[in-house]
């Protein structure tokens, strides 16, 4: 089974909310600023709970923040 990647739009969502800082988002979510940086750079996939808290901080559904991208071969098999 090929593995997919979890992408996110946190950088854009922060920009849309009058340049919310990483520190402000971290405080809202209850994690460190380093963790927000790691998530934004796709270096860390957060737990489901933190993912929901991030979505709630922006006031958007989870799918608008995170997307699961599958590899081409897996997508082809599914089709």
């Amino acid at each position: 089974m090929s593995r997919g990647r979890i992408r996110n739009n946190i950088r854009r969502l922060r920009f849309d909310r009058s340049e919310m800082t990483q520190q402000e988002l971290a405080e809202k979510v209850g994690v460190t600023r380093q963790t927000i940086i790691a998530i934004e750079q796709d270096k860390y996939s957060p737990s489901l709970e933190v993912a929901f808290r991030i979505a709630r901080a922006f006031g958007v559904p989870l799918e608008e923040v995170f997307q699961y991208e599958v590899a081409d071969s897996e997508a082809g098999n599914a089709a």
Partner: protein, 151 residues
């Protein structure tokens, strides 16, 4: 290089450990012909442990004063778990090697006179060496995952 509070804390502990135990094991090598782990050996070991504690406390006070302390979150805990896993495997391997060393040296001594003797002094220091290396592996693993990320 922009280091987080956790990374600075780990790096400080790593350097303290390398310096203090480096000095301690250098003295062990100088006295490698000792047989028993006597009071002088115990004194050196206690001195190393106290030195580590004092350095760690002083360093973390300075670190807390100059940079904002951050409580551990889920990413820190996950990285710590991975680091403990690596350290455990190394410690378990080291313990097995020391046990094997002691058994083999005992059997060799029984079978024929040999100069290979695993003394209590050597055994204690080998076990301690495994503990120190396991701790260093934990620190290196944490720094590695903080830099590379958990994908």
């Amino acid at each position: 290089m922009d280091l987080s509070y956790q990374e600075k804390s780990i790096l400080g502990s790593l350097i303290a450990m390398v310096v203090v135990y480096g000095y301690y094991f250098a003295s062990v090598l100088r006295n490698a012909d000792r047989r028993e782990f006597d009071s002088a050996s115990l004194g050196r070991l206690l001195l190393a442990v106290i030195a580590i504690i004092v350095i760690e406390i002083a360093y973390h006070i300075v670190l807390a004063l100059e940079s904002k302390t951050e409580p551990k979150d889920e990413r820190d805990i996950l990285i710590e778990c991975k680091a403990y896993r690596n350290a455990y495997f190394l410690l378990a391997t080291g313990a097995c090697l020391v046990i094997t060393c002691v058994i083999v040296a005992g059997l060799a001594r029984d079978a024929a006179p040999t100069k290979i003797i695993v003394t209590p002094f050597l055994t204690v220091n080998l076990v301690l060496f495994c503990l120190v290396v396991a701790e260093l592996v934990k620190f290196f693993t944490q720094l590695f995952y903080y830099r590379r990320g958990l994908r």
